[in-house]
């Protein structure tokens, strides 16, 4: 890992962020091979820690759904997980008082109206005692302010603002009149490998960048109509027919899905080799889409950290093995 080695074969992995929004990031990883790219992808899915509801104590549940079912739904609500870094895995907890493993969350709703009441993630009560952990809350959280049995409060956010269309809360269950739920939940840190509820991403995927070369000579033998047909043969807009030059141009190579439709078309036309498409072996177009638990860039950074820790661990283990072998060799 150190630069001092100066091995000429050593590659310099590089990340160029192409696009970043609130919940997605697109970047290009270059200068490395498939194993690293895949390792990054796997870590993002399975090993970036987040926080999710892990234990539910049911005090009252007179809804029509059973306890387990509600508990399962609660678990799947993505919680904002910035604090995951400060928390300890429950199975790593050594018993010292500084570290925190559990964040309590409560859910207390009773339906008093004749209308069906929606219980959403906004109804979850974040316990104020853990002030530093009040960031552990459902994504797009706007507390409904609906206390237990409070007839006046509605399901709308307390601050009166209208939740915008994209950021509606997550429905947990519905209640009819006089039905009530009262649950004490415990949110904990975990990784996606243990349960899908701890996955920080909806998807993390990389694609190989295609290298598309058009055989211009062969392309010239096509009629105008055929050229347009060729462009249309690909379900994605990989090629473009330029009206001015009357030539087929590569339009969006990254949209190519390796479906081979245009190659098939060329073959059917009796023009094999019309285009040549190859996947670049050292360039990876990553797309990471967050569930909202963590910002996408944090997910990638955390994943790299996890990867780094793993490598460090492997290295130290290898060192031990090596030193053992050395001492064995001396003897």
């Amino acid at each position: 890992m150190s630069k001092a080695d100066g091995d000429p074969r050593q590659r310099r992995p590089n990340i160029v962020v192409q696009e970043m929004t609130e919940d997605t990031i697109k970047f290009v990883l270059t200068g490395t091979d498939t194993s690293i790219a895949n390792a990054l992808r796997r870590v993002i899915i399975a090993e970036v820690p987040t926080i999710a509801i892990d234990l539910v104590e049911v005090i009252e549940n007179s809804s029509c759904l059973c306890d387990e079912f509600i508990a399962h739904r609660l678990g799947l609500i993505p919680l904002v997980s910035h604090k995951a870094a400060d928390m300890e895995f429950p199975y790593d907890y050594a018993g010292d008082d500084e570290t925190v493993t559990d964040v309590p969350i409560e859910l207390r709703v009773k339906c008093v109206s004749d209308q069906t009441e929606d219980v959403t993630s906004n109804d979850l009560l974040i316990n104020g005692d853990y002030t530093q952990y009040d960031t552990v809350k459902p994504v797009h959280y706007r507390p409904s302010g609906r206390a237990f049995g409070d007839a006046t409060a509605s399901g709308a956010p307390a601050d009166g603002s209208q939740a915008d269309g994209d950021k509606h809360p997550i429905l947990i269950l519905k209640l009819r009149k006089n039905q009530e739920i009262n649950m004490r939940c415990v949110a904990r840190k975990g990784v996606g490998r243990d349960h899908a509820k701890w996955q920080p991403v909806a998807t993390a995927v990389y694609r190989f960048e295609p290298e598309i070369t058009i055989n211009e000579d062969l392309m010239a033998t096509l009629t105008e109509e055929e050229k347009i047909k060729f462009v249309e043969s690909s379900p994605t807009p990989v090629f473009r027919y330029n009206d001015q030059t009357r030539k087929v141009e590569v339009n969006m190579p990254e949209s190519y899905t390796y479906d081979g439709e245009c190659l098939k078309w060329a073959e059917d036309m009796g023009k094999p080799g019309l285009v040549d498409i190859r996947a670049k072996e050292d360039t990876f177009l990553f797309t990471v889409e967050s569930t909202g638990a963590l910002p996408p860039e944090t997910i990638v950074l955390n994943a790299l950290k996890v990867l780094d820790t793993k490598l460090e661990m492997t290295k130290s283990e290898l060192d031990i093995v090596k030193s053992e072998m050395d001492t064995a060799g001396v003897e």
Binding site: T34, I45, C66, E68, H72, A196
Partner: protein, 1192 residues
Amino acid sequence: MSRYSMKCDGFDQGTGYLPEALRGVARNHLASFDYFLDHGLSDVVRCLDNISIQPSGAQNTSSSPRFKMWFENISIGRPIREDTTAVRARDPRVFPRECRESSNTYKAPMLATVAWTFGDVGAIFRREFRICMFPVMVASKVCNLFGFSQDELICRGEEGHEMGGYFILNGNERIIRLLVQQRRHYIMGMKRKAYSSRGPIYTHYATAIRCSANDEHTSTVRIHYTSDGSARLVFVHRRKEYFVPAGIILRALAEFSDSVVQAIVARGLTGLGAQVFAIERIRIILGEAATFGIHNKVQALAYLGEHFRAQLDANPWETNFDVGKRLICEHIFIHLQSDEDKFNLVLLMMQKLYALVAGQCSADNPDSLMHHEILLPGILMQIFVREKLQDALHKAKIALNREFEENPNHASADDGEWLSQVAIEAITKTNIGRLAEYFLATGNLSSRTGLGLTQTSGFTIVADKLNYMRYISHFRSVHRGAYFAELRTTTVRKLLPESWGFLCPVHTPDGSPCGLLNHLAASCYIHVACESTGEARDRARSQVLKVLSSAGALILHGSTSLGSAPPAHLTVMLDGLILGFVADSDAKVVVSALRAAKVSGSNGVSSHLEIAHIPLSSCGYGGAFPGLYLFSTSSRMMRPVIQQQNRITENIGSLEQAFMSIRCPDGRQKPTCIAEHAHEENGPGTILSVVASLTPWSDFNQSPRNMYQCQMAKQTMGMPLHSFCYRPDTKIYRLHTPQRPVAMTGQYDKYQMDNYPLGTNAVVAVIAHTGYDMEDAMIVNKGAMERGLGHATLYKTETVTLVAGSDENFGQCNVIQQKLGSPIAFTEKHPFDPDIDTDGAPRPGSIKQAGSTLCSVVDRSTGRVRLHKIKGSDHVIIDRVSISSGKASKGQTETKMSVTVRCDRNPIIGDKFSSRHGQKGVLSFLCPEEDLPYIEKSGSRPDILINPHAFPSRMTIGMLLESMASKAGALDGRFIDASPFQAANDETHIISPTREYGEMLRKHGYNYSGSETMVNGLTGERFDVDIFVGLVYYQRLRHMVSDKFQVRSLGPNNPLTQQPIKGRKAGGGIRFGEMERDALIAHGSSYLIHDRLHACSDRHVTSLCTYCGSLLAPGANIQMAATHQVHASGAGNGQGRLHSFDDIFPRKVSCRVCNTGTGVHNVALPFVFKYLAAELAAMNIRIGLEVGDDRV
């Protein structure tokens, strides 16, 4: 309005009542039971004989005063509480939910009016009384739910879509099975080997007709052809066959000249030779009658009466002539009243018989659906009640006779009151309701006569609510009869073309009931007549006659003189009554006139009239016996087709269908070879049953796969019902996240399957990956499973009943403290159980581990505590506890606690899943999400991986199509119509679905053929080939490892043989049998054999005397043993067979035969061997073992 509100298009919001298609499901059951209530009971009463008793002192003359008694009216009321006094404050009505929850029977009072006369006064006295409580069909006319809207039903704890059609017996829902029977009022030409075994002169030939009287009781009459040229008429009375020379019956029915009969019978045959043959037979038949001295009606009836007096229980004052008349009336063609009609029918039967013998017509196939009808639940109940009422009257008669014997002075009308009291007591004591309950609860028919049915058990089945499809198909199933299940031949199981449109060719189970247990096609129904007797029937009959005569048929007017009709005349028969004749040339005109009248619906001709015109076969040989047969009565299977000319829907029956030409759209532009079609099918899909019609694109699948799907659909977990909190079913499976399939058939919405869905749309990749998907195994995405794919719950209900009449009570020990005042402390014997509350019941919502207490019962007088443990090996959650008390069988109050528990049934390795195309598979691996192959384009991981080898041999193209189409539908945001035979229905505009959905995929930027470039999640490399990925609706089947796994290391052993016991429940082992042993021997793995069959089974160390070779002779020295007893009890740590007696007392054992211990050695051998030695010794056979040193 909430943003999350779903579109509830399943509910019929407009009316709030059950939608038409669903009403059709239980229609046959409900309509027939309503008929039973409205008309059946009164028909029975009307046709029932009265009892008449002559006081023993009086003379045996017909004029002497007699006590006569009969039923005048019987009706069934609404279900109410039996003991109305105790609960007067409450609603007296009983609703089905209450019966289910308290394990009671849903029954209503049956009221009867008896009438009697006594002496010569002539005055009739009447009395109304309650005969019994009679079980009642849910949602029938007397049911308390009748006419309820959806909201009212839900208020009563029922399903919003409650269809009814079943009975509730002891809390169980049971359905009367539809059974196939021989078609009534149709003369069957039979050729059976068994007929020749009736006697030395009997041949294979006979004609038979099954007649049904007004009160629906049936009797079959056959005419056998005998080798001496004569004929025998056969009828059955009390399960015995009686053979009567046909000549006697002929003479008994009418006065006629021999030549007329000869002419009539001969007319049924073509050709002079055949006619002479028939004439000669008639001569023989009548000659035979003459040998008995019978030449006219009076002689014949008297002769019959004389011989059947005993069988018919003739009263002493009846003359032979009267008895003979009664015989004709009650047993010969019971559907006809007049002797002339009966006479005509005998002659027609003989015509057909001789045509059959002469080879001019073929024998009718008794297995063909055209000769079948269905035994309806209501009619079964009707004939059942008829017989039981008869029995009750008979019992009343016996009671009255006894009364007369004891007190012969009863003679006045005043005594009638008392006598009627005696009779009513005898009638109520019969308890018809209890008999009906037993019949419905067990399906076993205990009957004197057998009700003219071929089986005595299997009449009812449990309406299993495993899922909605299974529930529906119970109502639609038709069984061929228990008799045929044992039959070796497979001919009855064959799918015959005659069943087209009536029985589903796809929906029959594989295995032993294959072909015997069929299901009605979705549009097929069984006709239930509005009214069978009296004026309504006469009116309908006269309407038919009017149409017939105006169209040119010759009508008989109650005469036997048939004139000289030419041979080309067809007999016109309506419900077994010969109406007249029609010239063969006119037949078509008559038939079309009838059909026009039938569909017009204005002129009183029923729209359910079956018009079977069997034409004269062109060559005169080999075809079915010609005629124009009309049927209007109940029990016939019918289905709608379209009249091609005027596009009116006509209902046709199974007999007429065979002789009609019905066009079925087959996708071809021009009609096939037959030029003329009078009718047209509603569509090719109409042949399918409800369940089969829900398979998407079943026309693309290999046919057995569709059969498998019909099986598996019925084993799927889904949403079986909505009223979970009111159902005490022993097992209910519930899928937590069922979905509406993206691709479904048109029938899906028709039957509103969205209310009870049973599956989930899963992203399925067809790929051979990791080897965990070999042999129909499938890999499931662990992440998808954790997000809820296939999550399910099993609801189980266990019931604990208090011993009736004891002091038992639900509760923990401390209950006694309160009641008795004498404190019984929680001791070691009566520990406080924290699992349960002081009321003895578990806390709802609490989690119980296997083996913990479910319920505690305390006996208040003895203080004894009875604890009920949870059955099964997994932990459960208490869902609901209910306590009910009701009347038990012996009039005692019975208190029950039923505890409903939930078991977690989320998918684990070994659970079974299937698509809707007969492709089942076992979950073999829950693959971590990061390891799964993913689609390069979107990064999505499939939910399920299946192996491509599942397709080539099974050819379930429908599944591939569903996969593609659902994917396209999901991208397009709409549901896909996957109805079968779309190409056939839409003749002008045919696009193959592959093209349609391929283009749709392409439009959304996907591959035309549904494949995707995928990346191996383990290596990160692209696959060389594209993988077929799409959406398939997956069903989770109820077969789960949690219910099936069987494992043991140590466990209970059989006390006699010391071998491990069998049975999963008992913790036993799996049998390692001879074949398994052979396999190990073949492999030479002797250590393994030794381990399995000896060490792990009944290894036993015992003493053997090497001198005499006996296993039994060595015995311990008792004196020595006594001194070592302390040592023995210390060493016995429960593992008795490891520390045998001989282990503890080495060398102290001596042989009692050889009188020395020096030859006694310890050997290890199977305990059964020692047991065998002991058993043989008991028979004086000694086993001697030769012991040698195996090292030599």
